[in-house]
């Protein structure tokens, strides 16, 4: 282990390490991605420390587990800031936790860069110090795909689309972003389902989709439901020309969980292990060394947070919780552009990133980036093979 939870350490070593307070959902509903983010943070800290730290000070990460509970996330940040007197805070996972956490950070004037609060609502709370360290907010995840589909010649263009989305601000955001753009382009919405997180049986939803027999199936999903939906669609022999699901397919467990059905599924992805971006390969290598296995998007997002802060600290030359320093950091982040492992990032006034997600597709069992053209590693296969 690189870092222990900070509870044991004595406060007040201001001039020693730069202490970063983080609460993450290490247990509960979001524990899996929470873990990914944690690893991303750790890889980043490891690299910074290997290079001599921030402003010559070592970086020390203080983790708390909020058990995916918004109550806890705010009390965690509260105590990290007031009791542990951390110098900086990094965000937790999931829009649901980011909002309460950001509230706390705001009220203590801390800059708040977060790896995973993509839902549109996050940016509508009037936060002034929040920045989302990924290419795009949920609604814009499918932008490249939408452009692609809209530009297709009329005879190839899908005419009907079915949407099924998990009742979660992020997951719904992705599906609705695409839906709105496609609907505007005249692609008819034939099914539009929202299911609660408790849903375990996807066959009936699939049956509904089957009855509408759409050209395009879009899932606003996390992992479990993505797998459930794909399997159910497969069983009910729904054969759309294209199937897009968010989040689920980007996780390494996915292809195995749907046995073979993964082929040609597309999904938005903010990061790629193979992309030739500054620092990306270094991060992948370091991750492999530290944790074994491949990093995923969550880890990359965590790493990105670190990169942004690192650059900002380097630019304004301070890393302490004083309002002056935090103001400087905030200002810098707002106007600068950062070179990160997810590509260059810049932010609007509400902290929204202004870039876009890439689109990945399983081609011959491998994840390939198919959109946009600048980043593509393979061509988008359309229409998809039957599953």
């Amino acid at each position: 282990k690189t870092d222990e939870p900070g509870a044991a350490q004595s406060p007040g070593q201001q001039q020693g390490a730069v202490r970063v307070g983080i609460s993450l959902p290490l247990t509960g509903d979001f524990s899996e991605p929470g873990k990914g983010i944690q690893e991303g943070y750790q890889v980043w800290a490891d690299r910074v420390n290997a290079k001599g730290g921030l402003l010559g000070r070592k970086v020390e990460l203080l983790f708390r587990d909020d058990a995916s509970d918004p109550n806890r996330v705010s009390s965690d940040y509260e105590s990290l800031i007031t009791q542990d007197k951390v110098d900086l805070v990094f965000g937790p996972f999931s829009s649901r936790l980011v909002i309460p956490a950001a509230k706390v950070a705001e009220s203590y004037d801390m800059v708040f860069v977060e790896p995973a609060g993509a839902a549109a609502e996050v940016f509508e709370q009037g936060f002034t110090r929040l920045f989302y360290a990924a290419p795009a907010i949920a609604d814009d995840h499918y932008n490249y795909l939408a452009d692609y589909l809209v530009k297709l010649p009329a005879d190839q263009r899908p005419k009907t689309a079915a949407y099924a989305s998990l009742d979660d601000p992020f997951a719904q955001g992705t599906a609705y972003g695409l839906r709105d753009r496609l609907a505007a382009a005249g692609i008819e919405t034939v099914v539009d389902e929202v299911y609660p997180p408790e849903t375990t049986d996807f066959a009936p939803i699939a049956a509904k989709i089957a009855a509408a027999n759409p050209d395009l199936v879009v899932g606003g999903t996390q992992f479990e439901d993505a797998v459930g939906l794909v399997r159910a669609l497969q069983e009910l022999k729904v054969q759309p020309k294209l199937a897009a699901f968010s989040t689920g397919p980007t996780l390494p467990e996915f292809p195995e969980a749907v046995t073979g059905a993964a082929e040609h599924i597309v999904s938005p992805v903010g990061w790629s292990a193979t992309a030739d971006l500054p620092g990306n390969q270094e991060m992948v290598a370091r991750y492999k060394e530290m944790f074994g296995g491949e990093p995923n998007e969550d880890a990359a997002n965590g790493y990105t947070v670190g990169q942004i802060i690192e650059a900002a600290v380097a630019a304004v030359r301070c890393a302490d919780p004083s309002k002056a320093c935090q103001d400087k950091l905030t200002q810098h982040i707002r106007q600068a552009t950062f070179q990160t492992v997810v590509g260059p990032l810049s932010f609007d006034d509400q902290g929204r990133p202004e870039q876009a997600h890439m689109i990945q597709q399983y081609v011959n069992g491998k994840i390939e980036i198919v959109l946009p053209e600048q980043a593509e590693t393979a061509d988008l296969v359309y229409p998809k093979r039957a599953w």
Partner: protein
Amino acid sequence: MVNLILQGLALGVLTGGLYALLASGLSLYFGVMRVVMVAHPAFLFLAAYLTYTVHTAFGVDPFLALPVTVPVFFALGVAVQRLLVARLAPDNLAMMSVLLTFGIALTIEGLLGTFYTGSYRSISMEYATRSLTVGGVSLPYDRIIAFAVAALTLGVLFAVLVKSRFGRALRATIQHPEAARLVGIPTGRVAGYGFGVGLATAAVGGTVLALITPFFPASHWVWIGKLMAIIVVGGLGSVVGAALAAVLLGVVEGLVLVTVDATWATMMFYVFLFLTLLARPQGFFGGRLAHRF
């Protein structure tokens, strides 16, 4: 539309079978032993994880894990009963058992999270992705298998409880332990075995579940409400009632899902629960005895 409804109906029946299997164990503890077993779904997922381990380690079909999981769970059930449940004071067994098993559920979830991490696991077999098409209605094989396994398990359970000497001894033990001892029933052992049988159904249910849905340590919470609703509608303790209610609710859920939406479909469970309470608090199949002498 007609086709859609038929499809919903078919899926509902098949899912209902699965619900029936999952609820049967609960109904057993409840009716036969007056224990509210909140941890049952947690054990289901424990079984799912074990199946997963056996499946990935040896590459065998998940159903071949049953000869391992069923006896293990049986033994586990005996242990839980003898070491924990048996120590509860009988005067408010229902209440205490909720808390006890709630604690057990947390314990299991924590352990699963520690050993398997919080990530999703799933088992998928080739046959689980295909389906049988009858008159425009697709019947997925994995659901058919689940239904068949459920029916078989329920049949066996019913036979054990109602027809066998052991079943009689078990019920006698619960209803009047002192009198049961006096007719020569080894009550301690019998109660332990009863619990074991309940958990054995969890082993079977967990295997089936592992086959058709991905799971992670906290998955069990979702199931508690649904399964509980089923056994109340069916009449507490009536294994047959639970099975019928399970199929009924499965069908209703399926139909509502295809015609309205998922929120309403889940809501149906609770709507039915409250309707049951208003109309027939003892459930539709369970005969509660009036203690009014």
